[in-house]
């Protein structure tokens, strides 16, 4: 039977860890709510922009725009969105694994990587992947400007024909309990050719081509922003769940340890009593 003092110390340490996990859970929950709000705020903008683009694109010649250019695929760019910090369950592992799987299918040497978040950077640096750029330590003050900056670099990489396609791997926020890994094609832009543009009597200023030219980079910025927001919300949700589980586990451990402690205490009392009785018996 373990020493009474040892058990007491262990209970104490488990309790203090529990306090930490509980606090982390609360912080994650608050951050997640904020992230969700931001996602909702961004949605109308995205939807409207997509709408306008869908009206425009069918009339625009694909060859005119480098961002719509479909080329034979030789090199592929991958954008992997992770967090800077761990302790969020399988949040980072899953997305990194998924990206790695897809990259290995194409061949490691044909892929240029853009890492967003420290975890992706660490993982792929250690394995000698071809990293073009990484963005780390910005999640705490996430702003639209970040999305623009990242988007710019990625788009330039595509336009200068260093890669022929760009994919993005990120966690999509479904709800608090579920985040799904998504792998989407960012460039060249895909759209539904058949969608009719029935609205004919409309003014376009400047020309449709020029409009599209300035619309699409904006659209990509918004897409990047969406990826960042989704990933951020997912990270917080994943962390919240992970910390909740940790808190529950700690509770169980405290329960078991307390039981063990009581047993040990009872045993030592019994032992003492036996000794006293034995001693008294001997004196008779």
């Amino acid at each position: 039977m373990a020493n009474l003092k040892d058990i007491r110390d262990r209970i104490k340490s488990v309790r203090s860890i529990q306090k930490v996990t509980k606090a982390m859970k609360m912080v994650a929950a608050a951050k997640m709510r904020k992230a969700q709000e931001r996602m909702e705020q961004a949605r109308p903008y995205t939807n409207r922009l997509v709408n306008v683009i869908h009206h425009l694109l069918p009339d625009v010649n694909r060859a005119l725009l480098p961002l719509l250019d479909i080329r034979r695929i030789q090199r592929v760019g991958y954008v992997v969105v992770t967090s800077d910090r761990g302790l969020a369950g399988s949040f980072n592992t899953n997305v990194v694994k998924k990206a790695e799987l897809e990259i290995n299918e194409i061949g490691k040497e044909n892929v240029d990587l853009f890492c967003i978040g420290k975890k992706a950077k660490d993982y792929f640096t250690r394995r000698n992947y071809n990293i073009i750029q990484s963005h780390i330590e910005f999640w705490n003050d996430l702003e639209f400007q970040h999305a623009i900056k990242m988007g710019e670099k990625i788009i330039n990489h595509f336009v200068s024909k260093k890669v022929d396609e760009i994919h993005v791997c990120y966690n999509e926020f479904v709800n608090v309990a579920t985040q799904t890994i998504q792998s989407e094609q960012l460039l060249p832009l895909e759209y539904n050719q058949e969608e009719s543009s029935s609205v004919s009597n409309r003014l376009y200023e400047p020309s449709k081509e020029k409009l599209t030219k300035s619309l699409i980079p904006r659209h990509l910025n918004v897409q990047m922003w969406k990826y960042l927001l989704e990933s951020y919300a997912s990270e917080q949700a994943a962390r919240m769940i992970a910390m909740e589980n940790a808190t529950d586990n700690a509770e169980d451990m405290v329960k078991n340890l307390t039981l063990e402690f009581n047993k040990a205490r009872q045993a030592s009392i019994t032992k003492e009593m036996l000794e006293i009785v034995g001693g008294a018996e001997a004196l008779k």
């Binding site: 409207r48 922009l49 306008v52 003014l203 400047p206 409009l211 904006r218 910025n221």
Partner: protein, 133 residues
């Protein structure tokens, strides 16, 4: 004067839909006005100032480019940033202007992206101009 609904949407905030009489926008080819029953269309907007007139007041906003979509007497402004003139932090705008100017003078050393530099310069100038309304 006839009025129409104006919806301003940005990636980070949604302003309330308001009833207005007149909107003046900075188009790519010069500024243009929208009044009630304007023809439908899509218009590209430059960095500049938006003036919004409603029954009760006139307000000025600074924007950093975007789009205006007109659809059956409903106007939607899709802009990346928008600030009402009274909210602009003048000291921040001034320091941004200073930064942009500094970058311009020493651009040869680092070979910075010219387009980006010019646009940050014009953004800073525009915000100052609107702030002084």
């Amino acid at each position: 004067m006839g009025h129409f609904t104006l919806d301003i949407v940005t990636p980070t905030q949604n302003l309330d839909v308001i009833e207005v009489n007149y909107v003046r926008c900075p188009g790519i080819d010069g500024s243009f006005g929208i009044m009630a029953n304007h023809q439908d269309g899509v218009f590209s907007l430059d960095i500049g100032e938006i003036m919004i007139q409603s029954e009760s007041d006139t307000k000025f906003y600074s924007i950093s480019g975007g789009f205006a979509e007109i659809n059956e007497n409903e106007v939607c402004l899709l802009v990346e940033t928008i600030e009402v003139s009274s909210d602009i932090d003048i000291s921040r705008a001034e320091s941004a202007l200073q930064r942009a100017n500094e970058r311009k003078t020493k651009r040869n050393e680092e070979d910075l992206d010219e387009v980006r530099m010019e646009s940050s310069l014009s953004r800073a100038l525009n915000r100052l101009r609107v702030a002084n309304r």
